[in-house]
Symmetry: C2
Subunit: 280 residues, 2 copies
Amino acid sequence: MMFELQQLQQLIAIAESGTLSAAAERLHLSQPALSRSMQKLEEHFGAPLFSRTKNRMTLNETGVVAVQQARCVIEATESFDAAVRQKIKSLTLRIIGSCAPGPLWDLVPDISILASGMTIAYEILDDEALLEARLRDGTYPLVLLSHPMEGDDIVCKPYIEEQLFVSFPAGHQLASRKHLWAKDLDGLTMLLFTNLGIWSHFHNKMTKTHFILQTDRQAFSDLVTASVLPNFVTNLSRDHQNPQLHRVVVPLMDKEAKKTFYLCARKSNQQLFARIKPRI
Amino acid sequence: MMFELQQLQQLIAIAESGTLSAAAERLHLSQPALSRSMQKLEEHFGAPLFSRTKNRMTLNETGVVAVQQARCVIEATESFDAAVRQKIKSLTLRIIGSCAPGPLWDLVPDISILASGMTIAYEILDDEALLEARLRDGTYPLVLLSHPMEGDDIVCKPYIEEQLFVSFPAGHQLASRKHLWAKDLDGLTMLLFTNLGIWSHFHNKMTKTHFILQTDRQAFSDLVTASVLPNFVTNLSRDHQNPQLHRVVVPLMDKEAKKTFYLCARKSNQQLFARIKPRI
DNA sequence: GTCGATTACGTATTACGTAACAATT
DNA sequence: AATTGTTACGTAATACGTAATCGAC
């Protein structure tokens, strides 16, 4: 097979648009590119698919057949794509954690073992009311909340605790402290990883601390080791990220710096729920 | 659609070969290339199609579905290809001329007009017995022979005459001759276009003349104008090729240098045959 | 040590867009 | 003049093969 799916789509686009120019625009392609592409397709068959006058290109009899058949091929590729995506979806178990990533770092591997072969998909949201709704409407079989969830058809248990620490480079002025409060960080510049779920609420209150946000995990990690800026770690993150060499870790004493996460499920989905062992 | 047919074929090849290496060899591709190609396919779906250990790659559940579906797509592309080729074939009228190209230069345009929209395909052979057989077995509706054809179910008429000339550059020693015999060309070096059908028999007898053979029409044409070498032309070729400027044309008097070509058809195909007007 | 797969890297192909052109309306 | 398609050309994307690496058998 020496032709490409693209070419078939282009052929169809030309048939539907009437002219090569219009099709090119529709395909976000230049006219010359499309012209050459069709020439190649014709070359493949060794026969023209269009009848050409100097400034007009119309499908000839062969071209009409080609368009018909090309539609079948595109249809086949679309059902291929759909079938594979469907399969992937069917092999994907959707959970949701409010305070990701922390609790998920333990929960996802646990579930991976319980549901072997499945891919675990998760979403991190800071709106816990929305999470409760998502559990109830069946979008997710499991949610992790920072508080117990009420409801007749709901089961819920404490799963894990997370405690915030601040990580300082060895020589930092606060590195010798045994404990800290959030207000001690006023005026500091810190590195902060994004997508922290409800932890964001905590950081948002620290209006006097300047945060350098970083969305990319690897870039964040590189920055931490390369810079002398303090950053946050937790009892959970320390297990899962690189051990912080040449760094001192000091606990935060604010009551919002320690959270218990509750694993919640609908009773109808209790069998999976029951098999997940709390880490608390 | 962001994947290629190639990738689907490769996926199938891997499934059939068992390993990536074996498939790579079968596809005349290096292992790394195939590896990357599959990584791209997985990237497209955002999910793995293989389960990988360090030195083993096996289709996972998603991959198995993908292979199944990919087979359907390939099947569809093959019927696309077949349908288009079939259509092209159905729009192609096959004729055959023994002494091409000469007589065909007139015959092909004539038939193009009679069978408007059709592509005319022809073949040039120097074996006239074979041509007769091809007419009888239906491979070709029409043949051009250098002699009349016999047979109850055969119709036949003289179509055209072709006379060989030699074309010399203006200053050539033989350019002033009113006529020539083949033996006068002994010792000369001449340009000769290939695929001349039965004319080859004539040239083959001229063992003392050295021929520079040229298969490409354009290259031959360029050589003729650029060199001072003599070449053959005919009453038919002079009409269809560029007029030979600064050249003198001298007729060949040998009886093999003049041929009458006969158009032959089966009686069952007489209606087309009848509409073709002889050029004689 | 061989085999199978991935990563890294330099190169060669190719595919694209811009520009220039030809021809039609 | 505006539209439509083709050709020419320089560049950017990419796809490939070789070589190196890492593990498994």
